[in-house]
Symmetry: C2
Subunit: 227 residues, 2 copies
Amino acid sequence: MCENCGCQNLTHEHIININKNVFEYNDSFAKENRKFFEEKKITAFNLLSSPGAGKTTLLVNTIKNLQKNTNLAVIEGDQESDLDAEKIRTTGVKVKQINTGKACHLDAHAVAHAVKELNLLDSSLLFIENVGNLVCPASFDLGEKRKIVILSVTEGEEKPLKYPYIFAVSDVLVITKLDLAQYVNFNFDACEKYARSINQKMKIFRVSAKTSEGMGAWFDWLKHQGA
Amino acid sequence: MCENCGCQNLTHEHIININKNVFEYNDSFAKENRKFFEEKKITAFNLLSSPGAGKTTLLVNTIKNLQKNTNLAVIEGDQESDLDAEKIRTTGVKVKQINTGKACHLDAHAVAHAVKELNLLDSSLLFIENVGNLVCPASFDLGEKRKIVILSVTEGEEKPLKYPYIFAVSDVLVITKLDLAQYVNFNFDACEKYARSINQKMKIFRVSAKTSEGMGAWFDWLKHQGA
C-alpha cells in the first residue's frame, strides 16, 4: 500500500514479489555461469557505466595491451546496434553482441548463451560490457568475478552519491577521460571520497585511454586477476 | 519460453505480463496528472538523459532566464541525495526532490504526490528532471506535455542508434556541452541524422550552458510552449 495515499492498485509488496522472482531466475543462471568459469579458470569482469563513459574505448586499448600474452573475449550489451562489437572486432578477439531490446541490463541467462557461442579457451579473461546504465545492472549478477564501475570526468564527481547502489556492489572504480578533467573542473578527491563513503574497499584507477595516462596501473591490475 | 534453450523457469511471456500491470498502473496516474495540468494550464516537461549529461545545469540557466516573466517549478528525480534540488533551490523557484531508491525512473504516482506538495500556480511551466538513465524512463508516461532528451557531446554521436527507444518517444533533443565538442570530435551532423532516423519530427537544439551558445533559441522555444 502506498504510504502517501493508501492506494492499492498495485502495492509496493506486489512489485517486490515480482522482483524476487526475476532475481531468483537470474541468480540460478549466474550460479551456473560462475561454476563454468571456475572449472575453465576463466576470469569474468562485468563493466558498468552510464552511456558514453568510455567503456568500449577503454576495452579496445586494454585488449591491445593484453592480447599478446592472454586469451581474451568480449560480450557486448546494448539495447540495439552492433556498433560496439564492430569496434572490438577490429582487435581480432572473439566478441558476441547481445541486443537487449527494451531491457535495461544484461541478465545471466543471455550471458550463458553468449558464453556458449564464444567457445572460450581455458584461462581466458572475459570482459562483459553491460548496457550503459548506472542503475539496473547493479542488481543482476552475471556470474562475474569482479564488477567494475566506470565513471567519466565529464559526468561530475558527485555521481557516487546519486547512484550509490552500483558503487556499493562494484569492486573497482575506473575514472576515465582524465584528458578532459581540466575543462570540467572535476574534483578527483571529492569523487574518490564519495565512492569510498559508499564502498570503503573500492580499488580506484584514474585513466585516459586517449593519452594513456594511468593505463599502465590498470593493465597491471588486470594481469594479476587471472584465475 | 526461451527461444534459445526452451527453458521455462520464468518465461518471456510472464515478464511481459508483469510489465503490462506496471504500465497500466502508471498510466492511470499519468492520465490524472495530465488532466490536472490541463485544468490548471500547466505545461510539464519530462527531461531525460544519461547521468551527467547536464540536465540540472541546463535547468538552472533556463530558470534564470525565464523566471522573471513565468511561474516555474521543478521536480527532481534521483536514486539518492537532494544535491540537484539544492542547486535548483538557489534560483528561488519551487522544487521537490523525489528519491527513487533502487528504482531506475520516476513514475506518475510519485509525480502526482510531488505536484500536490508543490501547490503549483496556474499557467506554470513544470520541469520534471528524471533519474539519469537512457533506458527505463522512456517507458513511463508522467502526464507531461513534452519529453525532452538531453545528450552531451562527450557521450558520442551514435547514442540514438544504441538507445533508440528514448529518442523515439521524445519530442525534442537538446545536445549539451557544445564547449567540449572540439576536444571529443563530436559529429553533430551524424548525431542529428541518427536521431532523425529514429524520430523524423524531432526538434533539435545545440547548446552550451557554460558559454550560453545556442541557449537563446532554446529559451524562445520554451516561452512558446505555455498552455
